[in-house]
């Protein structure tokens, strides 16, 4: 099982992407998609030296929900900041210490930070121990770091435990 399907989640993902690409659910495409989803991870296995292990996939759904909600809320905040007096913004760099070890998990965290408005991740340190984030309007540094760690990093740690 493990040798034939090295990355089950990746396969599932590819299969879904294929079905969405053809935008149809006829049996031919379901089979072709399944074939591709099984074949591609096998052929590209060598490009994935450090595979993330999925601990609890269901938390991923909850994470997505929180994430989408945050995008909507924070977009409104940033819209107000942009349209308001620009001189009063307090942009700053904040360093967030990372507990995540896996490269893929760090990538997901950095993407989440960039996509939720008000913050853009700027640099992961060489040793993967901290993430430099640019904040559009910094209110309280400690609060922001704590918020990101609790809201994004903690669930990601459960999803990718290694």
């Amino acid at each position: 099982m493990n040798r034939l399907v090295p990355q089950p989640m990746f396969s599932l993902f590819l299969w879904l992407v294929w079905l969405l690409l053809v935008n149809a659910l006829d049996p031919g495409h379901v089979v072709l998609g399944a074939f591709l989803a099984l074949a591609l991870p096998l052929f590209t296995a060598r490009f994935w030296p450090d595979q993330p292990c999925m601990g609890r996939p269901l938390i991923l759904l909850a994470y997505l929900g929180v994430f989408l909600w945050d995008i909507v809320v924070a977009n409104l905040t940033v819209a107000r900041l942009i349209l308001g007096p620009v001189g009063r913004l307090r942009p700053a760099f904040v360093t967030i210490p990372l507990d995540l070890k896996n490269d893929f998990a760090i990538t997901v965290l950095a993407h989440s930070i960039s996509l939720t408005p008000g913050t853009v991740s700027a640099m992961v340190s060489e040793d993967r121990l901290s993430l430099l984030v640019h904040v559009l309007d910094l209110d309280d540094e400690a609060l922001l770091v704590q918020r990101i760690k609790k809201r994004y990093e903690a669930p990601l740690k459960e999803i990718f435990p290694c």
Binding site: I71, N75, F93, V120, S125, H134
Partner: protein, 114 residues
């Protein structure tokens, strides 16, 4: 009657998406330095494009046409690529020590940590 309702919902999402994309662009023009300007474009792709894509999915899924979920893929690819470009630009700017307007010292501090 429901058709008018659906069209109203579609229009709402189109306007919402358009408004946020516009605000993102205004941000690009108004904000003072490179790092703050990064916030505009990465955000316009989230709620701005998101609203337009929801409208598109609704439009092509209703009125006798088959369910259309292409839009999910567009969202997925955008969400995967937009932060990468923002990250690259930010990193290049840090490397070149682009001026960060209001608190230069902070930038210098973080630059020294490199």
């Amino acid at each position: 009657m429901p058709e008018i309702l659906i069209e109203a919902v579609i229009s709402f999402f189109l306007l919402l998406g358009g408004a946020f994309a516009l605000i993102g662009s205004i941000g690009l023009a108004r904000l003072p330095d490179l790092f703050t300007r990064l916030h505009g474009p990465t955000k316009a792709t989230t709620l701005g494009v998101g609203g337009i894509l929801v409208a598109s999915a609704l439009h092509f899924s209703t009125g006798g046409r088959t369910l259309s979920l292409h839009e999910l893929l567009v969202t997925l690819f955008l969400f995967a690529t937009a932060p990468v470009s923002a990250y690259l630009i930010a990193r290049a700017a840090l490397h070149l020590r682009a001026p960060s307007d209001p608190d230069k010292q902070r930038l210098d501090r973080t630059g020294a940590e490199e």
